[in-house]
Symmetry: C2
Subunit: 249 residues, 2 copies
């Protein structure tokens, strides 16, 4: 598995620039990369040609609009369907609503909606990623694979409730509540292997239990700081999950 230094550096520049709201000077990029300025110039020029970065009027390098086009092609149908649902969920629960998708062993917030009157600011931006082993979103995604004897107590509890609830796992004092994007639950006891497994998607003999969206492991939920009515939040999350499921057929 060999990798390419030049490409890797270019992508690191893109990442660095994107993390700098006010842009970066060439010299700063060169310093952070630990390379000569001349190299930073060539990297930036190439990124610029592809519209991934742009130069401000003062010459500083800013994240370019090309990233919007790229992101617009990531799960467009799911996200388009989810957007209005998340807005509604945020309003109904008074908390920040999110759609998370699993990639590898990480969980990525793909779409986020905030209520009109945010109670307490929770900074949960699109693109936020965290290990799948932590937080309500991770649990909700873990719920999508069939039960195993190695499942944690929290996971089993989540399966029984139909949703996952965690406190302070991702951020001090934050409460997360998430439900998996699948119909029904895996309520089998013990290790029951799936009847067949294709392309990593578990196919069940009885499709009414544990039917997932093909190729995507996702969940929706809410995050808030302490003051969250978990009763109504759970109801709303499940209701909106079902709304989203029926929207994407």
């Amino acid at each position: 598995m060999s990798t390419l230094q030049t490409l890797s550096r270019g992508l690191t520049v893109l990442e660095l620039v994107s993390r700098s709201p006010d842009g970066l000077a060439i010299a700063e990029i060169a310093r952070q990369l630990g390379v000569h300025r001349a190299i930073a110039y060539r990297l930036v020029t190439t990124l610029e040609e592809h519209m991934l970065v742009a130069r401000g009027d003062d010459g500083r390098i800013l994240i370019g609009s090309g990233v919007v086009a790229l992101a617009g092609r990531y799960q467009p149908q799911l996200r388009m369907a989810a957007q209005p649902v998340l807005v509604s969920l945020a309003e109904a629960s008074g908390a920040t609503a999110f759609l998370c998708v699993a990639q590898g062993d990480e969980c990525v917030a793909v779409e986020v909606a905030e209520p009109e009157q945010p109670m307490l600011k929770v900074s949960y931006r699109a693109g936020t990623r965290h290990p799948i082993s932590r937080g309500a979103a991770g649990l909700a995604i873990a719920m999508q694979r069939p039960p195993q004897s190695s499942d944690s107590a929290a996971l089993t509890a989540a399966r029984n409730q139909g949703y996952a609830l965690t406190r302070g796992q991702l951020q001090e004092g934050a409460i997360g509540l998430a439900a998996p994007l699948m119909h029904g639950n895996h309520q089998l006891a013990g290790d029951t292997p799936p009847s067949s497994q294709m392309h990593g998607i578990y196919m069940y003999a009885n499709p009414t239990h544990g039917a997932q969206i093909p190729g995507v492991r996702a969940c929706i939920g809410v995050v808030a700081m302490q003051a969250l009515d978990t009763e109504t939040a759970a109801t709303e999350v499940l209701r909106h999950r079902d709304r989203l499921l029926s929207a994407i057929g």
Copy 2:
């Protein structure tokens, strides 16, 4: 202005993969790039490390979730403020609502909202770009610079109305209506140069006329196929423009 072959190819791969909803095989990437498969492997491996592409369960290369994080850092405050406004505008006008930002001589749709009951499908996805010289969005952005004697009749008309209306310029049978994201209008007659110009932002002696958002040339508007009530659409676009302006202070 020299550029780097390796980086450029890697970014081209990213673009190719993003345009393929079902992913691409290594061989297809290699063929489309016109390079050997071994090179495509190295490019893909590097992109994969940066989470910009991912491998499906069948081995095909798919766009990765990393692009969501990158895009989330492009104009986050403007987009967060615009999202609910666009949803409301789409609902009020019954058409697809958009937020466009100018970059160079192009105009990029950065945020899009569709009405719950779309009348006729208008495909206007986030990331869509077109020359700034065409379409309602381009005109609306052109309205933000001070009037010049070289202005087209359409631009002058748009200035007088306070919004731009075009038919069929971007797509056959499509109607676009857009208003610039600035307070008031440039209603000066003839060529009146700005009192000062810094960093490409025009600063006026009287800030109540033509005050823009610093550093961003943007507009909001709607697109529809034929059946659009332009009267109410214009009213709603202007109303929502003002709502967005006050939201971002």
